[in-house]
C-alpha cells in the first residue's frame, strides 16, 4: 500500500463549551515525518486521535490520499499506531501481536507467518517470537509496538508519545531506530511529543501547538531560528527575555529601549507597533563574551556558573531580564574560566539573531 498524504481541512473539536482544538488547516505530505509538539493539553493528542479516527471532529474534514475519511471508524482507516505505553496485547506472544493486523485482513496463514518472520528480523526480535510482552524490556516492547504498527503497510503511521516511557539513554537510540524504519518505508508519519529535543532531531516539519491552536508549522530549523511568536521561541530551546518598549521604526529596523539601553533589531516583527511593550528574545548560544574594556551590548555580574558536561551555563544578573538573569552558554573552557561568579562581564549578540515579540 502506498503511503498517503493527510489533509486536515478546518477540523476542530469542542467538548461542550471547551475547545480542545480550534479549527485548523494542515497538510501532511506523502512520506513526511510531521511532529505535533506542545505542552500537555495543547490539543496535539486530540489532533492525532482525529487522524486515527478515535475522535470525530466537531467540524471540518480529514482526508487521506485525497479521500474523505472523516466519518470512517479507525478499523476502516489504513493506519498504524504506536501508543505511549505500547499497548501490546498481554495475552498474546510477540509473534501473535505482530500477526494481529494481518489476521484482521484475513490473509492466508502462510503469508502471515512469512510476514511476521520478516518483521521479527527487522525489529531484531526473532529469538523472542514466543515470549509474552511482559517478558521483554522497555526497548524491546517498543520495537514490537512499531513492528505491529507497520506490518500491515499502513498509509499513515501515528506515534503517540512513544518514547516518553523509556529512560533517557534508550530514548536516543530508539529515536534513531524509529527514524530509520520510517525512512526505509517512506511512510507518512505523525509523531506527537512534548519533548522539543525529540521534535527537533526527528522531524521533517514541526507543528508547534498550544491551547488548542497551531502556532507555527515549519522545518526544525525554521521554528527554532525564526519562531513566529514568543510562545514558540520560549518552548523550543532556552531563551533569555529582556523587557523593553518599541521606540523607533526606521526602514524596517526597530529600536527597542531596554534597561540595558537601546537594542537595534534589523528586522522588526510585523505585529509590533510604536510605543508597545515587548520582550527581546536572545538564545544563550548567540551570546558571546566581550573582552574587558570594550563596548558591550549587555553588562552584568556573573551569579552562577553551572558545569553541564559538554558546556557551561552561565547565569548573569541583569535587572532587565525576565527572572533577573541572562543565560549564556559557553563551550570554551578558557572563556568559561573568565566568567567567575562575582565578576562583571560584558556580552554581545549579533543583532540579526535578536527577536522581539509583544509582551504576553
Amino acid at each position: 500500500m502506498q503511503s498517503a498524504s493527510v489533509d486536515i481541512v478546518q477540523a476542530g473539536k469542542t467538548f461542550g463549551s471547551h475547545i480542545a482544538l480550534a479549527p485548523i488547516d494542515m497538510e501532511i505530505r506523502q512520506g513526511e515525518f510531521m511532529t505535533l509538539l506542545g505542552p500537555s493539553g495543547c490539543g496535539k493528542s486530540t489532533l492525532l486521535n482525529m487522524i486515527a479516527g478515535f475522535v470525530t471532529p466537531s467540524s471540518g474534514a480529514i482526508r487521506m490520499a485525497g479521500a474523505d475519511v472523516t466519518r470512517l471508524p479507525p478499523y476502516r482507516r489504513k493506519i498504524g499506531m504506536v501508543f505511549q505505553n505500547y499497548a501490546l496485547f498481554p495475552h498474546m506472544t510477540v509473534a501473535d501481536n505482530l500477526a494481529y493486523g494481518l489476521k484482521m485482513q484475513k490473509l492466508p496463514k502462510a503469508e502471515i507467518r512469512a510476514q511476521v518472520a520478516r518483521t521479527l528480523e527487522v525489529i531484531k526480535l526473532t529469538k523472542f517470537a514466543d515470549r509474552h510482552p511482559r517478558q521483554l524490556s522497555g526497548g524491546q516492547q517498543q520495537r514490537v509496538a512499531i513492528g505491529r504498527a507497520v506490518i500491515t503497510n499502513p498509509q499513515v503511521l501515528l506515534l503517540d508519545e512513544p518514547l516518553s516511557a523509556l529512560d533517557k539513554n534508550l530514548r536516543g537510540s530508539m529515536q534513531v531506530e524509529i527514524k530509520e524504519i520510517q525512512q526505509r518505508l517512506g511512510i507518512t508519519t505523525v509523531f506527537v511529543t512534548h519533548d522539543q529535543a525529540e521534535a527537533l532531531s526527528m522531524s521533517d516539519r514541526i507543528a508547534v501547538m498550544s491551547e488548542g491552536r497551531v502556532r507555527q508549522v515549519g522545518t526544525p530549523d525554521e521554528v527554532y531560528e525564526r519562531p513566529s511568536d514568543g510562545f514558540v521561541a520560549s518552548f523550543l530551546g532556552d531563551v533569555t527575555r529582556i523587557f523593553g518598549r518599541l521606540t523607533e521604526i526606521r526602514g524596517g529596523a526597530a529600536v527597542i529601549l531596554t534597561e540595558a539601553g537601546p537594542l537595534r533589531l534589523p528586522e522588526a516583527q510585523a505585529d509590533l507597533v510604536l510605543g508597545q511593550d515587548c520582550e527581546v528574545f536572545i538564545r544563550p548560544e548567540h551570546l558571546t563574551l566581550v573582552p574587558d574594556g570594550q563596548p558591550a551590548m549587555l553588562r552584568g555580574t556573573v551569579a552562577m556558573r553551572i558545569y553541564q558536561g559538554g558546556h557551561f551555563d552561565i547565569l548573569v544578573d541583569h535587572p532587565g531580564a525576565v527572572g533577573g538573569h541572562i543565560l549564556l552558554r559557553l563551550t570554551d573552557r578558557e572563556q568559561a574560566a573568565q566568567a567567575e561568579p562575582g565578576r562583571q562581564i560584558g556580552l554581545h549578540c549579533d543583532p540579526k539573531n535578536l527577536r522581539a515579540f509583544p509582551s504576553a
Binding site: 478515535f54 479507525p74 485482513q105
Partner: protein
C-alpha cells in the same frame, strides 16, 4: 516486625479472633463424628453413621439436586447478563443508565425477604409459583451485584489503549470484543462465576419464600430438618459443606490469588 510486647499482644488478639471464627466449625465437626443420637460433649463414641444418614436422606438428596440445577442456571444467566451489563456501564452512556444500574444493584440494600415476597406475589399473579424459573430469577437478582462488581473490576484493569490498538490494526467492534476484551476479562468472569455459584448454592431467605415443595433447595431442606429433628445428620452435612467450601477457596487462592480478586494488596515488603 520485631517481636516486642505490642506485636505479641497483637498476634495473640488475632489468634483469638480467628479462633472465634473457627469455633462453630470445629464444634460441628466434633458433633458430626459423634455416635449417639443425642449430642453430648465430649462424645462417648465416634462414628460415621450421620454422614451416611445425611447422604441417603431423601429430602437432602432432592434438595441437593434442585440446588445444583438452580446454581447452574443462575451462574450462566448472572455471568452473561451481569458481564454484558458491566461492559455497557463501563463503555457506554445512555439515558437511564444510572437508573438501570441502581435497580440491578439494589439487591445489595433491599432485604432479601422483600425481594423474596415480591417475586412470590409476582409468581402468584402469573400462576408460576411452582416453577424453577421463579427461584432462578430471584437468585440472579440477588447475585447480580457481586458478579457485576467482579467483572467491572477486571474491565477497569484493562488498559483502554489495548482496544484502540486493536481497532487501529483493523479490528471492528465485535473482533475487538472477541480477541481482546473477552480474553482479558476471563479472570473477572471466572470470579463472577464463582461468586454466583457459591452465593446461589447457599441462598436461603429469599428461596424460602419463592420455592415450593418440588423446587426446595438444599438450604431450605436443611432448615426444615433443623426445625424437626435434633440428630447430628445436619452436623455431618455441615462438615461436608465446610470442607467443600474451604477446598474451593483454597483452590481459587492457589489458581488466581484471592487477595488480588478482592483487591487486597499485601504490604510490608
Amino acid at each position: 516486625m520485631r517481636l516486642n510486647f505490642h506485636s505479641i499482644a497483637f498476634w495473640l488478639l488475632v489468634s483469638l479472633l480467628i479462633g472465634f471464627v473457627l469455633l462453630p466449625a470445629v464444634v460441628t465437626a466434633i458433633v458430626a463424628f459423634n455416635a449417639g443420637a443425642v449430642i453430648t460433649f465430649p462424645p462417648k463414641d465416634w462414628s460415621l453413621r450421620w454422614f451416611e444418614r445425611a447422604l441417603t436422606y431423601r429430602d437432602f438428596q432432592r434438595g441437593l439436586w434442585n440446588s445444583v440445577i438452580v446454581m447452574l442456571w443462575t451462574s450462566v444467566f448472572a455471568v452473561s447478563i451481569g458481564g454484558a451489563f458491566a461492559w455497557v456501564i463501563d463503555r457506554c452512556d445512555f439515558p437511564g443508565k444510572r437508573l438501570l444500574e441502581g435497580l440491578l444493584t439494589s439487591s445489595l440494600l433491599i432485604p432479601s425477604f422483600t425481594i423474596g415476597i415480591g417475586f412470590l406475589i409476582l409468581a402468584n399473579q402469573v400462576a408460576m409459583n411452582r416453577s424453577f424459573a421463579v427461584v432462578i430469577v430471584t437468585h440472579v437478582i440477588l447475585v447480580l451485584p457481586f458478579v457485576m462488581r467482579a467483572v467491572f473490576v477486571s474491565l477497569r484493569s484493562i488498559d483502554p489503549s489495548l482496544e484502540r490498538a486493536a481497532a487501529s490494526l483493523g479490528a471492528g467492534p465485535w473482533a475487538v470484543l472477541r480477541t481482546i476484551t473477552l480474553p482479558l476479562m476471563v479472570p473477572g468472569l471466572f470470579s463472577g462465576l464463582l461468586f454466583a455459584a457459591i452465593l446461589s448454592f447457599n441462598e436461603f431467605t429469599a428461596t424460602l419464600f419463592v420455592s415450593a415443595q418440588a423446587t426446595q433447595t438444599l438450604p431450605v431442606a436443611m432448615y426444615n430438618y433443623v426445625r424437626e429433628y435434633a440428630d447430628p445428620s445436619m452436623a455431618a452435612l455441615s462438615v461436608m459443606f465446610f470442607v467443600m467450601i474451604t477446598v474451593v477457596l483454597a483452590l481459587t487462592n492457589w489458581l488466581m490469588d484471592l487477595g488480588r480478586i478482592l483487591a487486597i494488596k499485601s504490604q510490608d515488603h
